[in-house]
Symmetry: C2
Subunit: 471 residues, 2 copies
């Protein structure tokens, strides 16, 4: 049998048959500590390969400078991603690329990979531990990142798969996540990333009093929703107020002795605490947000890794998001139709992406947005979001520091919250309060040509992001 | 979200859209204790569905009476399988079915399922534990059978998948093998099988002195092959002499302090003992042969479940069998070209099948057949096997009680064994010794029409089994 171990990245790229015009993919579990995307693209550029489609589950600031250069040099001509932080996002919004970026969701990406909408020629899997056959895991090794959930569709459907590791162990490794059956080549490198970088800046509980008020209100909404009982399932983002809500929810669940079924999504240490305290029977982990989560998924069998398909794909027979009772999500803007923007900032410039936002909003029985009425003197609640990331039909509640707005489609919930004495207000009222404080925002200037498409989890385009003037 | 739990088998079959002429599949981890194949076919027959292709990884005697009836009634018109015990095998050989049975190997079956050669409309997965979304495992529950390895390709590639369980647990179950993403329906039944029946009659060490002599010789061959060193990998069948060889091998490995890498395939308690004694770092388990193996795979993380693809599929990027150093296999006949028959008995009647025989023989560096020179006064070593299950080019050594024959293609091994003073003889000599004792066997009468095709792991037909006169 031919060995899959190759001596260099260059050799792996050559053997995988990568040529100009093809598609390469990356996953983002090493987040802002990832070295592999830059490493691979640099090699590809040196080899004279051009005009690639880059399909990356997310793109972080660590990738921005090099990626900008590769775009300018036409090594990368098209980008598909579920999230793009502001570093590259700003450049894209200023018109760096000719072809519009395709934004998908964490569930839509595996759907479109599986259905062949976005075929991948060569997938690069950053693997904190691997053996010579390509069995690999994120749980072990010096660059351990925990779950490899987003890498599963890439490994399963790409024509060729290259595993990149800095911790090569004897065959067969124990407790692999992705099995050798999908892996064509294995490359050993000195370091795939800096595990310190996998901790996002937003994975700490807020100390902001406004955030704490919103978190408390959010938990009151959950308590009065009728959903908080044994078997309860929950997801929350890694924003400061969302994490504070998780902490308050834990206190309630322990006090009321409620045993939930699972918490899902990107997992933080706060959810690990809830698992260990008995609030949930299991964590369903597609991505570890911090090192406490990495340690937990390695050592606690109740903390389970799930693939991106199992997390959220609409083409899977079922996905975890479809069994969620409650999800708490953030927003950069919410409009009076409950549409949510998490793609662009107040200038209309790209600084995020849906990730699992619209997947969980679609799946959960109660989708709650936590957002302050304004940030930096700009209102968050507006007439119309500048970009629809998640359609308002999938949002049930908006929690702000000045009141709770319930989507009119959910009259029963509205009544429950009112009966509980919670400050339920009309969302138009929230908009007016915000504008009274901040003043009516200037309308964004009409954008230029399209720089990105927002593709909903079912494959349809739900919005277009347009060019902004460069600053 | 629509529930996958359906109230009855009939309802599951109806919802899965099964119609006459389609293909259904089953896996065989419950072996001769399996209730599900009969249960499903009975329901299908009642529903008036006819002319099905039955794709079962193996068929045991427990299935024979009902299956014979369903064949006579034209509910089942075609059979694809990797193994068929004598109960049904004899009837097939007597001409029960019009269409020849298609025999594949444990690696060829997932290959042909993945490539669409043998598409499956509805797969039925007998799951000792499952949750309402279809996440399921063989490790837990009253009918625990351990690995579900052979069910993976069925679950992954069938158009519809029905999980049948007698142990439905809360969502999400812990430590699933097959994830919900593949499962369409879940049916709860009183019992999926009798776990006592999963123990094959051949999973005990032989007490037969001839068998013990062969086992000792086999281990001497391994010791002198140059392969028995740290990192050694090993597989053996569940026949009495093979298991005795495993036991003797364990003694040698412990005495010489050799730590192997893995043992693979169908796993018995003897291999579990070797794992626990430190002879191997890992077991790669596609099927548990006894309850000690079931207990081990449930509790020991070094005892790892592998899918049929990872075990042996030639269409996977790599498979475990390709990393085997030594495999010990049985035979009902071996000919002077080292071709091996494990499909038919001395009358030419079906009583077995390749299983992983030719997969491991192709993959292992040293493929060893253990067989006595004769059984019941019939010679085992012959001029020409009546059915080629594994081609002689993949067989290195034949070990009998009267000497060891080495395939001439492997001159180096032959010299090593001679140098070690082992009784190396020409295979023609073994044939003559056998015939001197038993007399020259009557040539089997020319068979009638084809009743089965033997399809090698690469998809090519390597032999045909013909009709025998019924007794």
């Amino acid at each position: 049998m031919q060995s899959k171990l190759v001596g260099s990245m260059r050799e792996a790229i050559r053997l995988a048959g990568l040529r100009s015009g093809m598609s390469v993919s990356f996953h983002h579990h090493l987040r802002n500590g990832d070295y592999t995307l830059n490493m691979v693209l640099e090699q590809i550029a040196e080899m004279g390969i051009r005009d690639l489609t880059l399909n990356a589950s997310s793109i972080f600031d660590i990738h921005a400078p090099a990626l900008e250069e590769h775009i300018r040099n036409h090594v990368v001509s098209r980008i598909c991603t579920n999230y793009m932080s502001a570093g590259l996002g700003r450049r894209i919004s200023e018109g760096l690329m000719e072809a519009p970026v395709e934004f998908r969701t964490h569930g839509g990406r595996p759907r479109d990979i599986a259905l062949g909408v976005t075929p991948i020629d060569v997938a690069f899997v950053a693997a904190p531990t691997a053996d010579c056959a390509g069995n690999c895991s994120g749980k072990y090794g010096p660059s351990a990142c925990g779950s490899l959930g987003y890498a599963f569709p890439d490994a399963m459907y790409a024509k060729k798969v290259v595993v990149i590791t800095d911790n090569l162990v004897d065959y067969p490794m124990q407790d692999w996540s992705i099995p050798e059956i999908y892996v064509d080549y294995v490359v050993q490198v000195p370091a795939i990333g800096n595990p310190g970088g996998i901790v996002s800046g937003t994975t700490k509980i807020t100390r902001d009093p406004v955030g704490l008020v919103m978190a408390e209100r959010a938990v009151q909404v959950i308590q009065n929703s009728g959903l908080l009982k044994d078997g309860f399932s929950f997801q929350t983002g890694a924003g400061g107020a969302s994490l504070a809500a998780a902490k308050f929810l834990m206190d309630v669940m322990l006090k009321e002795k409620i045993q939930g079924s699972f918490a899902s999504g990107g997992i933080t240490g706060y959810l690990v605490d809830m698992l260990n305290a008995g609030c949930f029977r299991s964590l369903m982990d597609v991505q570890c947000f911090d090192l406490k989560a990495v340690e937990s998924i390695r050592s606690n069998p109740a903390h389970q890794e799930i693939s991106a398909m199992q997390y959220a794909s609409p083409s899977a027979a079922s996905a975890v998001v479809d069994r969620l009772d409650v999800v708490i999500l953030g927003a950069t803007e919410v409009d009076t139709d409950f549409n949510v923007n998490v793609h662009t900032d107040s200038n209309g410039s790209i600084m995020g992406g849906s990730g699992g936002h619209s997947d969980t909003a679609a799946g959960a029985k109660l989708s709650m947005i936590i957002a302050p009425l304004f940030r930096a003197r700009l209102p968050i609640v507006t007439d119309r979001v500048s970009c629809i990331s998640t359609p308002g039909r999938d949002v049930d509640v908006l929690v702000t520091q000045r009141g709770i707005a319930v989507n009119p489609k959910n009259a029963e919930l509205r009544q429950r919250l009112k009966d509980a004495g919670l400050p339920v207000v009309d969302i138009h009222e929230l908009k007016e309060i915000a504008e009274r404080i901040t003043g009516r925002p200037e309308k964004l200037p009409e954008g230029g040509r399209p720089v990105a498409k927002v593709i909903y989890r079912d494959g349809t385009q739900i919005d277009t992001i347009r060019c902004v003037a460069s600053k």
